[in-house]
Amino acid sequence: MTTVAMSPQQAIEQPNGLVLLLRYLRRNKGLAVGLAIFLALVLFTVIGSFTVDLKHAYPLSVGLKKPPSWQYPFGTDFFGRDLLAAMVVGLWQTAVIGILAGGLGTLIGVILGFIAAYFGGFADATIRTVCQILTPIPVLLIQVVIASSLDKRDVTIFTMAFIVVLLAWMGPTLVIRSQVLTMKERQFVSVAKLSGVSDFGIIFKEILPNLLPFIAAAFVSQVFLAVFAAFYLAVLGLGPLREPLLGNIIWAATGQGAFFNGWWWWPIEPSIGMILILGSLALINMGLDELANPRVRRTE
């Protein structure tokens, strides 16, 4: 019954999308920094994959334990890998695992979330209960169990991604489900029904477009969790040992006591790489969260 205390009608033309995006980024520095770092990493990997001989990323391809020099800008490690090549390949592989596992996890989450929320009833009850039962279980430990029971030799990046996604889909499922539940009650869905739109039409044309910011945020946080999990397993020595995954490099470095033997560059470089990846993903996630939750955005 309250009068519609609306902001005065904006007669002027709304500035186009790009200007709005830039203005939003200026106000939301976290997202800007995150995107910048992420782009830098992508550039590093793309340029690296052309300019550097990727075979040097594997053991016994170059001289051992050389500190960073003109010839080996990132130096070499105890096993004779050129760390620059190793970093390029490692970043690329981490990205593959992250995006694969994150993407799959989000996809499962969106599908189950929609089914549970929109069709409700028995489907909703089972999906919700399964998610609630699985939530308290520490996901990383189960992944450790899975990884440790696999034969070391046939563990590849893809099996890693599969292990990671196995128990990562509950988060997005619950988030998307609650969003769809609130969206379903909104009046524009009733109006769409009145306009003769079918159930599927409502899901894909009316509800899904409004959920894009949430799905994007869920995807980024899934990639973050996937990269974190892959790194975690690698550091425990459960990853694909031959691949120069950042986690493997650090596991090998700490194993050989790199710090104490003065090879400081060996553990530092992958650590910085990992911090940049996870940090940028976390910042982007924070930015997307604000985009999805208008009230949070308002105060910047």
Binding site: M1, T2, T3, V4, M6, P8, Q10, A11, I12
Partner: protein, 346 residues
């Protein structure tokens, strides 16, 4: 024709004792501008009026006309990107705009109280109602044992005819009408000189609405405060207030007693507003006001109402901004039609 009640129209005002007409509230030249992304919007433009203790003034106008902005400005609660540009607000002998933040904080509820529109969630959901009253007292350095403070709260609850048991209840245990009356009780705890009600009953049913308005009326008599009722329901104004101020596009376009406003509105916008009201007599007659409320970002030239005004397409209206004039009997109007007739306010 009307089988309704037939008490004399001005029965209520006649009964009020004739207090000395010292204005308890004087607002002079209040101006507020919002610096939004899309440009500067002058939400309040040189608003001035006075109010005596025990008097009720209604403030009406379309959404975006600046009603709520005026209330927030008087309480100095305008948040960025808005800013109070100029003006004075005198409550009794204190001027609020120049007070420092600490004194202004004490003045809120102490001298001037605000009853919110959304009573539904204006009460803290996780602490008891009593705690939310006592902390208001303590924040204004009211001394006394917890028993004394509690009794003071009981008195306030009693005057809004709420059972003292509400003191120990939580917000989710109260109905909409009860929550609104708790807000009123909080408003009168420190017996302020001015009470601003920002559409207090717009979220309530019509029967509860009448109950709440009667509570405000009784409470006002008890502490002899001046009351400003902000709203858009002209019927409520007819039943409750003594004088009516009409706002349009951030300006006060007319101020008159409720009888003058309803029987002989001067400003074309007031006249159109009164005519558009559904009434027992004019069943089936629909007189809307053409056009739309102007955007504060790009106000029409001259008088802001000229695009929608029947007298609007002539010269002074289109080009020159009208000044407020005082007509016979103290009525104020801001319209070129009355330039000659009224006395300029300088």
């Amino acid at each position: 024709m009307n089988s309704m009640t037939t008490t004399a129209p001005d029965a209520r005002t006649a009964m009020r004792p004739a207090t000395a007409a010292t204005p308890v509230l004087r607002v002079e030249g209040l101006e507020v501008t919002y610096y939004t992304d899309l440009g500067r919007a002058k939400a309040l433009d040189n608003v001035s009026f006075t109010l005596n203790s025990g008097e009720k003034m209604g403030v009406v106008g379309e959404s975006g006309s600046g009603k709520s902005t005026m209330a927030l400005a008087m309480m100095r609660m305008i948040k960025p990107p808005g800013r109070v540009e100029a003006g004075k607000v005198w409550v009794g002998d204190t001027e609020l705009v120049s007070l420092n933040t600490e004194d202004m904080r004490k003045a809120r509820l102490g001298k001037i109280a605000y009853i919110p529109q959304g009573a539904m969630n204006s009460l803290n959901p996780v602490i008891r109602i009593g705690a939310q009253m006592v902390d208001a007292l303590k924040s204004h350095d009211v001394k006394g044992s917890s028993a004394e403070l509690r009794d003071r709260c009981f008195a306030a609850l009693h005057s809004v005819d709420l059972d003292p048991g509400v003191f120990r209840m939580y917000a989710h245990e109260l109905s909409g009408g009860m929550k609104q009356r708790v807000c009123i009780a909080i408003g009168i705890l420190l017996k302020p000189q001015v009470i601003i009600c920002d559409e207090p009953t717009s979220a309530l049913d019509v029967v509860t609405q009448r109950q709440v308005m009667e509570t405000i009326d009784r409470v006002q008599d008890e502490i002899n405060a001046a009351v400003i009722l902000i709203g858009h329901d002209m019927g409520l104004m007819a039943q409750f207030v003594d004088k009516v101020a009409v706002m349009y596009a951030g300006r006060l376009v007319e101020v008159a007693t409720v009888r003058e406003m309803f029987t002989d509105p001067k400003h074309p916008y007031s006249r159109a507003l009164i005519a558009s009201l559904p009434n027992l007599e004019n069943k089936g007659v629909f007189q809307g006001i053409p056009g739309l409320a102007p955007s504060l970002l790009r106000l029409p030239s001259g008088c802001a109402f000229h695009p929608r005004c029947p007298h609007g397409n002539q010269d002074p209206q289109r080009s020159v901004r009208p000044e407020e004039v005082t007509l016979a009997g103290g009525r104020k109007v801001t319209c070129h039609l009355y330039d000659a007739e009224g006395v300029k306010n300088g």
